[in-house]
Structures are given as C-alpha cells and as structure tokens.
C-alpha cells in the first residue's frame, strides 16, 4: 500500500500557473546494492510518473535508479478549467499507484 502526499491548490484563476507537488512512498531499490549475503538486491523502482489534467497529459517523467527513495516531484501547470488532476506512478513488479485531486478554476 503506497501512501502518497499530494499538494495541489484547491482553487485557481483561469490562466494562473500553479505548482503541483507529489510525494509517494516507494523503496526505489537501485539494483546495484549488495545485501548481507553478498548477493545483489534486485531492482525495484518506479519507472514512470504521469500527470493528466482533465484527461490531457500535462507532465510526464521517466525515472531511473538515480531517483531517491520515496520519490518527490514538483512541477507546474496552467489552470485552465475545473476538473480532475490525476497522478499515476508505474514501476517494477507491477507497481501502480494513482491519486486524483479536483481543482476548482473560476
């Protein structure tokens, strides 16, 4: 169960540039670490992050093992109309997490 902490302003004016911040719990195991038994710990990372606003892609990121554990991302978008902002993370071992926040634009 991945916990996510999302920060999106609840309200915005049309055309206003808003900041979206998202933090998700995930080990981001690089696949380069060696465990106590001398064996490589297998890779387990988030591979992609996507954000849509009213169904349209507004920001996407391709992660790598160089992204820190419990990945944090902050980015911007222009508030157009009221709608749902959906953030989705997908990764190794079938990992998928999605959070939806609503924004009121008036």
């Amino acid at each position: 169960m991945a916990r996510a902490l999302i920060n999106v302003p609840q309200q915005a004016k049309p055309g206003e540039v808003i900041e979206i911040k998202a933090l998700i719990s995930h080990p981001m195991e690089t696949g380069f670490r060696v465990g106590h038994n001398g064996q490589l710990i297998p890779r387990d990372i988030v591979q992609t992050f996507t954000c849509t606003y009213d169904g349209e892609d507004i920001f996407k990121a391709d992660y790598s093992p160089a992204i820190a554990a419990n990945p944090f991302i902050s980015f911007f978008t222009r508030a157009t109309k009221s709608g749902d902002i959906v953030l989705t993370w997908r990764g190794d071992n079938g990992f998928e997490a999605s959070e939806t926040v609503h924004i009121q634009v008036a």
Binding site: R3, A4, N7, L23, N70, F72, S74
Partner: protein
C-alpha cells in the same frame, strides 16, 4: 588537516566526565544540516516523514484487537489529546512499574486497552503511530517529568553517555559534548539531541526511532549495540531528553 586534528583531539582526551553543553549553547541537529535538507524538513508537503505520519493517522482511527477499539475510541482527536505527550517521554509508567519510552507506552495501550498484539521496534505500524503521536508535539518544548521514580534510569543514562565503549573506546560525550561542530570525515558532528524523533534519516532512506540511531552510533564506535527495548536504551533516551530539556520538538525531522 581536519580529520587528523580530530583524531589527535580524541586520543588526547583522558578519562573523566566531559564538559556538558551550556544551555545557551545547545543547538538542534537541524542547524548542522545544509539549507536544502532543512527545507525538506520544514515543508510538510515534501517531508518524507509525513508519509509515516499519514499512515499513523489512519492507524489511529482503525479498530484493533479483540475489543475492536481504535486509539481514537479513547483518545479522540490526537491534535488535542496527544499534544505535549511525546515531549515528556520516556517517563515512569505505573502499569509497567518502570520507565518506558513512547514506543513502549503505545504497546502498553495496545496490550491492555485494545487487546491487540504489541508492535516490534522499527515495524511499519509502530513507526507510523509514534511518528503520528510525536507530530502532535511539534514545536512543544521537551519537558521530561521531574519525577523521583525516573531518578535511577536518569543516573544510569548519564553514566552510559559518559562511559567509553567499543573497540574505538569512545563515549557519546567525547563526540557530542566535547567535539560537536567539528568534522568527522566530511560530516559535522551534531550535539546529539533527540528532539526530532522518530525521524527520516537520509542514510536509511526511511523513518527510524531514536534507538535505531543509537544502535548506529554504537556500531560506529565498534561496540556491541544494546538490544531494542533494553533498559540501557530507555535510560539513555531519558538522559538525552533531559539533556535537551526545553528544546523544541521537531518530529518528524529529517537528518542526514
């Protein structure tokens, strides 16, 4: 050279009580971090420890054990009932008949009032609950009880803090009382205050308790670390809180 100088200092300190830090000179570990790490802690929307606090908030409401009681059933709104609680632990507990820390107190509640199994140190749920409870004391001054029943543990804690141990034959005091602010390798030595626990340590890439950090310290000194929940650790935790009396709680803090 900084590293050589520190080593010479360490080797030349003779046995005996180290000089305690004057109350006016006390600094939180926060002040020894870079600006960006400080920003990570102060921004609740980006502090990784807040993920554990969120988890803890959910656990607070979840009915547990044979009686299907949640923490909230007795304690209601944690922001009211738990305010200042973490700032006064460890302390003597009548039920247990001894000094207990916050984690042990949570387990006593689970065992006695929820009829639920106790949670292990560093388990996901215990970290979440202790992070959630400690968060409610953020900004509150550390206020260990002036209780005669804490005296024995406090004395033992002070003794352990000043006692040399391990292959490196160092005591906590030698680094954290005598050489705070100097460099150990590339890192600044902080004063070793417990005002941010449980905290997100960047080195662990996870949340951890004060006892986990103390185990790291002891391994760093090449000493056999005390076991989780041991009376030695409780005594040390109590002494550290007493030593940080009056400093503001920062939980959940972020530290390198």
């Amino acid at each position: 050279m900084k590293i050589g100088g520190a080593l010479v200092l360490l080797l030349s300190v003779t046995a005996g009580l180290a000089a305690e830090i004057a109350p006016a000179d006390r600094k939180s570990g926060f002040e020894f971090m870079g600006r960006d790490t400080q920003a990570m802690q102060t921004d609740d929307t980006s502090n990784p420890g807040m993920l554990n606090v969120l988890d803890g908030g959910a656990l607070w409401e979840r009915p547990e054990g044979a009686d299907k009681k949640a923490c909230a059933s007795c304690h209601g709104d944690a922001s009211q009932s738990m305010k200042g609680v973490a700032a006064r632990y460890p302390t003597f507990d009548i039920t247990a008949g001894k000094v207990v820390d916050l984690e042990q107190r949570i387990n006593l509640c689970r065992r006695d009032h929820q009829k639920a199994p106790e949670l292990a140190y560093e388990s996901r749920d215990l970290l979440a609950l202790s992070a959630f409870v400690a968060r409610q004391s953020r900004g509150q001054p550390i206020a260990t009880a002036n209780d005669a029943r804490n005296a024995t543990a406090l004395t033992q804690g002070r003794k352990l803090f000043n006692e040399r141990m391990g292959q490196l034959n160092l005591s906590c005091a030698i680094c954290h009382d005598d050489n705070w602010g100097q460099k150990l390798g590339g890192t600044s030595i902080p004063q070793g205050h417990p005002n941010g626990y449980p905290l997100y340590r960047l080195e662990w890439q996870a949340m951890g308790s004060l006892q986990r950090r103390l185990r790291n310290c002891m391994i760093g000194m090449r000493a056999e670390p005390f076991s989780y929940g041991s009376p030695e650790f409780i005594a040390l935790e109590l002494f550290l809180m007493e030593r940080a009396q009056g400093m503001a709680m920062e939980s959940p803090a972020v530290r390198p």
